[in-house]
């Protein structure tokens, strides 16, 4: 029996960047996003992810906070500083709970926030449907 999450509607091949250093989690999201009609790219390294994001080719950027070479917070701040006209939405997807101070910064700079362990890949896709 399938859990009754809604069947994701096919997207017009929206491009999504997944900045995630855990290989298996990246694979899971890749699989689920592809099945839902997205065009996903997975990047493990933080610095590379920042460059990719700045290229502004993505509709959604799914950003983990713990990345090698640059943390998600740094990437977020640099992105806002260097590419203020970015059209893509940045969604923080992490397993690390934030202190109150960090949370304020995230609310200011990010467009969304989700705890990975709280959702299955399909539920994540469902959540992303709400991103305009």
């Amino acid at each position: 029996m399938q859990p009754d999450t809604q069947t994701p509607q096919p997207q017009a091949a929206r491009k999504i960047l997944v900045a995630e250093d855990e290989q298996f989690i990246g694979e899971l999201y890749l699989r689920a996003l592809t099945r839902a009609g997205y065009d996903p790219t997975v990047e493990i390294d933080g610095a590379k992810a920042l460059e990719l994001a700045k290229s502004d080719q993505f509709d959604i950027i799914l950003l983990d906070l713990m990345l090698p070479n640059m943390t998600g917070m740094e990437i977020l701040e640099r992105l806002r500083a260097d590419a203020p006209q970015l059209h893509g939405k940045v969604i923080i997807a992490t397993n690390l709970e934030q202190t109150n101070e960090k949370r304020a910064a995230i609310e200011q700079h990010a467009d969304g926030y989700i705890i990975k362990a709280n959702v299955t890949p399909k539920e994540l896709v469902g959540f992303l449907q709400n991103v305009a």
Binding site: P3, I25, T99, G112, A117, F127, N130
Partner: protein, 513 residues
């Protein structure tokens, strides 16, 4: 001393004079009897004897009266100032005595002076004694101690307190406590000001202790952390209405804060494999769709349900750690209650199914929106539903979730028809680490779900309760404020962020700064 000698001399003179007078009178009587009346020998003796008795009698009485005068006067004067009979005996006058005026005057003077000194000492010691105690005992005490008067102003702070809070006495004493010391209390606890108000309104005495109270210091300094004990005593005669004592634990609590950080880190680490577990179970489910028999499907669902439960449990642990560290953030916003309940049920449906239970709701469509933090109120729902599932007694049972308006709040009940909770356990059900023991070996969990739910519901401004009968099911109920009742400025009208139960998303791209 001279006065005394003078008195003695005066007494001697009086005695001498009186005795001489006596003898002369007797002689006079004899003369009259013998020469004037020419009585014979025996009648003369008789008359003399008679006269002698009378005269001696008068003499004794007279001398007694005169010699006793000073003593009598002294007696009166002393009694007059006696603390026991004072004032009831009037002061005597010096003019009434013939002998020893000076002595009596001097002695009376001495006695009066002694009495005055005694009075003064008694008075000053009565007022100095508490001050003496305060200043000596209190200042030697190594514990910071503060005394408040009726108005909540600092009446006294001992040396240890001034040192601990790094204040000068002039800057501290006489000011309001609230003003000078902003104490931060654990979110799960009543704060000092509201406790004091309660005590002032309803008790003659009250005591309370708080753990891990914070006071921030200057920039770059770690905050002071201490346990606080407060004693309230209405109508204390010295006006020392409230007494506070602080037990410093800054080092210990700083270490515990690190432990909170440790918990957060541990939870983070645990979440990684949980994410993968849930993800691959889902992927496997999709791949095997239709290819598994019923029994294998059942195994599968149980795995999925367990991994969901892991998530809930990790969230609970983290939230408890945050409560301890005063970091639990509840952001109230307008929420459609049926949506929140719906998504909570979605996440629990599989688990219920695995136990052979179904969840039904009874929520009217016209229920007003509530003021709630979707993240944490969902945790409450999942924990309460989780409990209902845990304590169910068999397959086929229903868990019923009802919501309705009551007394201006939105009340929700989650009712199961399970094994119920014994009455003896109910009062402590919402305590931390309270576990409800049952016969069923399958009961798991360490009893933090209800404690967490209580803290969160209270932070929402609502109440939570349980009613249960052993063998007859349990109902957990809680109330939430309607959004309308909160939106008089209390709830941030931040419509730019929409909270879902898993996370939040900003509505406009323009809201980026």
């Amino acid at each position: 001393m001279n006065y005394l000698q003078r008195l003695i001399q005066e007494v001697r003179i009086v005695l001498l004079v009186m005795l001489l007078l006596n003898n002369i009178l007797l002689f006079g009587v004899w003369y009259v009897a013998a020469e004037v009346l020419n009585l014979r020998f025996e009648p003369i003796v008789a008359v003399l004897l008679f006269a002698s008795i009378i005269l001696n009698f008068l003499l004794a009485w007279g001398i007694g009266a005169v010699v006793n005068q000073p003593i009598r006067l002294l007696w009166r004067n002393i009694l007059h100032v006696s603390p026991f009979e004072g004032g009831e005996v009037a002061v005597g006058k010096l003019t009434t005595i013939w002998l020893g005026k000076d002595l009596v005057a001097a002695l009376t003077n001495q006695v009066h002076q002694l009495a005055m000194v005694a009075d003064t000492v008694a008075q000053t010691s009565a007022s100095a004694l508490p001050d003496l105690h305060k200043n000596f005992v209190a200042n030697s005490l190594p514990l910071p101690m503060i005394v408040l008067d009726k108005n909540g102003n600092i009446a006294f702070a001992n040396t240890a307190a001034l040192k601990y809070f790094e204040r000068y006495e002039s800057d501290f004493v006489g000011h309001s406590l609230q003003h000078k010391l902003s104490m931060v209390f654990s979110q799960a606890d009543q704060d000092f000001d509201s406790w004091l108000q309660d005590a002032q309104n309803s008790s003659a005495t009250a005591t309370k202790t708080w753990e891990s109270v914070n006071v921030t210091r200057g920039e770059g300094q770690t905050p002071l952390q201490f346990d606080l004990a407060a004693f309230y005593n209405k109508d204390n005669p010295e006006g020392a209405e409230t007494l506070l004592v602080c037990f410093d634990h800054s080092e210990k609590y700083a270490q515990e804060d690190q432990e909170v950080g440790f918990v957060a880190l541990a939870v983070h680490e645990l979440r990684t494999p949980v994410t993968m577990l849930r993800g691959y179970l889902e992927a496997l489910d999709e791949e095997l769709d239709g290819k598994l028999d019923a029994e294998t499907m059942d195994f599968f669902n149980k795995m999925k349900a367990s991994s969901q439960q892991l998530t809930i449990f990790l969230n609970n642990i983290l939230n408890i750690a945050r409560i301890e560290g005063n970091q639990l953030d509840v952001q109230l916003q307008e929420a459609v209650w049926s949506n929140i309940v719906g998504s909570a049920i979605d996440s629990m449906r599989l688990r219920a199914q695995v136990h052979g239970l179904s969840i039904v709701t009874d929520i009217p469509a016209d229920l007003p929106t509530v003021g709630a933090d979707p993240f944490s109120i969902t945790e409450v729902l999942t924990n309460v539903i989780d409990n209902a599932i845990k304590y169910s007694s068999g397959k086929g049972e229903k868990i019923v979730i009802r919501s309705y308006q009551k007394d201006g709040m939105v009340e929700t009940t989650v009712e199961d028809s399970g094994v119920g909770i014994p009455e003896s356990v109910i009062p402590t059900l919402f305590n931390k680490f309270q576990r409800n023991f049952h016969n069923k070996a399958s009961i798991s969990g360490t009893g933090i779900g209800l404690y967490l739910s209580k803290v969160i519901v209270n932070l929402h401004g609502g109440n939570i309760w349980v009613s249960s009968k052993e063998g007859n099911g349990t109902t957990v109920g809680f109330t939430l404020n309607t959004y309308a009742s909160l939106s008089d400025g209390q709830v941030p009208g931040d419509k730019a962020i929409t909270h879902h139960s898993q996370g939040w998303i900003k509505n406009h791209s323009m809201s980026r700064r």
